[in-house]
């Protein structure tokens, strides 16, 4: 997500970088471009005006710092303001002292409430809670059935008993108390903000279950209407936060920038894919960095923390250091890495990745092909690839259903990786591998690098 916005900012900052000083004219030019970039990203007109004004005041005002170049200053200001606009501090969820903690989801049709409900249930499970899903969407055909299927897949029970959403929701909470679930996630029907009857219904659902948290679910691809709907929902319900869905497309995420501003509530979660596990807490500061092309290392670390097996990781790092990293280890690591989500999304979190790499289409099936090749090797071969001669190569190719060229490629790449690692540790190897690989696209790279990011903090 946000990539196009990122690209545009890339272009603007590239030009800034060469400047020694910024006059009012330059600031004006930059602001105009930022305005266009934001509007094309579907940021609400009102928010754009506000943001531009704040950036203008700070850029031309007193906040000049001698230690930063003009470009760095503008980047810092934009970063700060984006962070503020996106929601300042991260949303924190606290649990009710008397369980269950009740969470209500509301939004327009097709925003992704049902999927978000299941994802949220999984998220709560990961936090060590015991969620119950309540299917109060009795409007859309098979919505409850959808929730049941999703509930099964994330291992959360689903309650939907009755024909009236208010009663269903109330019974759901009672059920949670009865069976000792400590979190209840209530999915409601999609509704238009102008539909008085349905808005009244969701108000009554809220009154019946007294949610501790009410989230407005909104599609990241939404345009200027995001603001209108969010306002209307905000008037009808006491919103606590926003769940932004479908951010894995190329939507520029303007809704994200606008909704917080309008509802006055932070974005609490983002859903980055169709799977329930593609769902994470939202961190405005990290998102601002991502928009500015600084990567999102913190999220990467967090995901690694969540998905990576600690012992295996330590072992792998140790082996990397000592240069005894075998294909077997490589295979193990691939398994671990796959758990962190699609490679594409992991890649997007790395800072300093050139646009071409960020945009590279990575098919996760190719990973499966790599695995197939490794699995077709004997343990001895995995341990020492130099054993692999012509006939072994043929056998491996046949066993994995790939060509010998593919096998060769894998072996060659792996060998180079080993060489790199031996000559300077993992981080050095990353730097070099990254640099080498991206050489043809990396010349005159404008993405603010880690160094830039660091100097801003």
């Amino acid at each position: 997500m946000f990539d196009t916005l990122t690209d545009r900012f890339d272009g603007i900052f590239k030009r800034l970088r060469g400047r020694g000083r910024l006059g009012d004219a330059e600031v004006g030019e930059v602001l105009r471009e930022i305005r266009v970039a934001l509007l094309e990203a579907d940021v609400s007109l009102e928010v754009v005006r506000d943001l531009i004004e704040r950036i203008r005041v700070r850029c031309s005002g007193a906040e000049l710092s001698k230690s930063l170049t003009p470009a760095q200053q503008v980047i810092k200001v934009v970063n700060d303001e984006l962070t503020t606009t996106l929601g300042g501090e991260a949303f924190r969820l606290t649990y009710a002292s008397r369980p269950p903690t009740v969470v209500l989801l509301a939004g327009l049709q097709g925003a992704g409430k049902t999927t978000a409900a299941a994802a949220l249930a999984l998220w709560f499970k990961q936090q060590g809670r015991h969620p119950l899903l309540v299917g109060a969407d009795l409007q859309r055909p098979a919505a409850v059935e959808q929730l049941r299927v999703l509930g099964r897949s994330v291992g959360a029970a689903v309650s939907s008993d009755g024909t009236d959403p208010v009663a269903v929701a109330r019974k759901g909470v009672d059920e949670a108390i009865r069976v000792g679930r400590d979190v209840v996630v209530v999915d409601t029907a999609g509704r238009l903000a102008i539909d008085e009857d349905l808005m009244d219904e969701v108000r009554r659902v809220a009154a019946a279950v007294k949610p501790h948290y009410t989230f407005f679910v909104v599609d990241a691809m939404t345009g200027q209407d995001a603001v209108r709907s969010a306002t209307a929902f905000g008037e009808a319900l006491e919103l606590d936060g926003v769940i932004l869905t479908k951010v894995d497309g190329d939507a520029r995420g303007g809704a994200a920038l606008s909704v917080k501003h309008v509802v006055g509530k932070p974005i609490a979660f983002v859903s980055t894919g169709e799977r329930p596990e593609s769902f994470e807490a939202f961190h405005p500061d990290r998102m601002a960095s991502r928009i500015l092309g600084m990567g999102d290392v913190l999220t990467l670390i967090e995901r690694a923390e969540r998905e990576y097996d600690q012992v295996a990781a330590e072992k792998a790092v140790e082996r990397l250091r000592s240069g005894r990293f075998t294909l077997e280890d490589f295979h193990d690591q691939l398994q671990q890495m796959k758990r962190m989500g699609p490679l594409q999304s992991v890649l997007g979190m790395l800072p300093g990745m050139p646009k071409e790499v960020r945009d590279a289409q990575i098919d996760d099936r190719d990973v499966a092909r790599v695995e197939a090749i490794i699995r077709s090797m004997t343990p001895a071969e995995r341990d020492d690839p130099s054993l692999i001669n012509g006939s072994r190569r043929l056998r491996i190719a046949a066993g994995s259903g790939r060509s010998t060229t593919d096998v060769n490629n894998l072996l060659r790449q792996f060998k180079e990786m080993q060489k790199l690692m031996r000559s300077g540790g993992a981080m050095g190897a990353v730097a070099r591998a990254g640099g080498r690989k991206a050489k043809k696209v990396k010349g005159g790279r404008v993405t603010p690098s880690l160094k830039d990011a660091g100097s801003l903090r």
């Binding site: 299941a118 059935e145 102008i194 939404t222 345009g223 209407d225 169709e274 890495m337 190719d366 894998l410």
Partner: protein, 394 residues
């Protein structure tokens, strides 16, 4: 594959470096229980993920297909049955009032941002600014907004348009209508049955609901309809479609969850041909246009559907009226992948104005064929540029 290898290696090294940090941090943090790993594994090879696209379609009220609840106003003209037996639908005139009714309901609540304009004597810069604002707020997009306003300005300068805000606004509306001039809004049937209409779009735009409505409408028009539950990915999508099919009396062909959608569509076409049905309405799973493998899957669905005895005569891109500038990218990608023949603009009965279809029409030349105005079976009407333009500025 080489690219992936390189990327994998870079990622691996990066992740392991992050992992080093992790190890340090982990020693201080007590982790919660590990989530079951099998939840994360991809299942279907094509899609790296198991269940649940957020393809939440708008829903009809459970059992009555009447006008949507509440403030729908007068029941309006009765269902949109069209003269049966026609090869093509003429835009059903009986439905037209609905569009303005529904839009009016949304727009009146909002009030008009342009009310002030008409009061002014001359068209000054502020007037143009307000027009620009109105277009941007309607999601028309900056490039087209710029073009429309530049055109207006030069015509004001040359005296072609009177220098009054009212004349300006009327000229702008006419320009918007002009964007849609000459578009063929009829839904096409192949010369030989069964015709296949394929429905594509991102998640949650209303594909399944649109098919449900069309199945009812086409059945009422006397055609025998088979719906193909090609969304085998989203949980219970097939059930949702089955309920619609049940209501309209259309036949339905379903596949197992996670089945290849092409095979479901293939079976539906075979089934339709064997039964002598006229029309196959093929649902597909919502997919983001940026997912190359899923777009490839869609190409295959189209190819398979077009294999005799099936003839794909419409590929309809379903677009949510709330969609912003991303809609253009969606239209471009879907059009490139499966030769989209027209656009269905859904959920136009809300506060969203759907201005992005102007950009889509202007840049890609795709006709806008249908408009969704509610959740009832008869809330799908032909697109009317005049009313649309009127609503854009109301």
């Amino acid at each position: 594959m080489t690219v992936v290898l390189i990327v994998v290696i870079v990622l691996l090294l990066a992740v392991l470096s992050a992992g080093t940090v992790t190890v340090v941090r982990r020693n201080q943090i007590d982790r919660g229980p590990e989530p079951e790993p099998e939840l994360r594994r991809g299942r279907a090879p094509v899609r790296p993920a198991p269940p649940s696209p957020p393809d939440v379609e708008p829903a009809p009220p459970p059992d009555d297909a009447g006008p949507p609840r509440g403030s729908a106003g007068p029941a309006g003209p009765e269902p949109d049955t069209k003269a049966p037996g026609e090869r093509e639908h003429a835009a059903p005139t009986a439905q037209r009032p609905r569009l303005s009714d529904r839009l009016g309901r949304a727009r009146n609540l909002l009030g008009s941002s342009l009310a002030a304009i008409r009061g002014r004597a001359r068209a000054d810069d502020a007037t143009f600014d307000e027009l620009e604002e109105a277009l941007i707020l309607a999601d028309v997009g900056l490039p087209l907004t710029g073009r429309l306003l530049d055109g207006l300005r030069s015509r004001v300068r040359s005296g072609e348009i009177a220098d009054s805000p009212t004349a300006l606004l009327d000229a702008l509306k006419a320009d918007v209508v002009e964007l849609f001039a000459g578009e063929d809004r009829d839904l096409a049937y192949a010369a030989e049955s069964p015709s296949v209409w394929l429905f594509v779009g991102v998640n949650g735009v209303g594909k399944t609901t649109t098919i449900g409505k069309l199945a009812a409408r086409e059945s009422q028009a006397g055609r025998s309809v088979v719906v193909a539950a090609g969304d085998t990915f989203r949980a219970a999508a097939g059930d949702q479609l089955a309920m619609w099919a049940d209501r309209s009396g259309a036949g339905i062909v379903r596949g197992a969850d996670g089945a290849d959608p092409s095979s479901v569509v293939f079976d539906a076409v075979q089934h339709a041909a064997a039964r002598g049905a006229d029309l196959v309405l093929a649902d597909t799973a919502g997919r983001l246009h940026t997912k190359v493998n899923l777009m490839d899957e869609l190409r295959k669905v189209r190819r398979v559907a077009d294999r005799p005895p099936g003839h794909v005569s419409e590929v309809l891109l379903v677009l949510d009226a709330t969609t912003g500038q991303n809609g253009l990218a969606q239209a471009r990608e879907f059009a490139g992948a499966v030769d989209v023949t027209g656009v269905v603009l859904t959920k136009l009965d809300g506060t969203a104005k759907g201005g992005i279809v102007c950009a889509i029409r202007s840049e890609l030349g795709l006709p806008i064929k249908l408009v969704g105005l509610g959740e009832g079976a008869d809330d799908l009407v032909a697109f009317d540029p005049e009313e649309f333009a009127e609503a854009l500025f109301s």
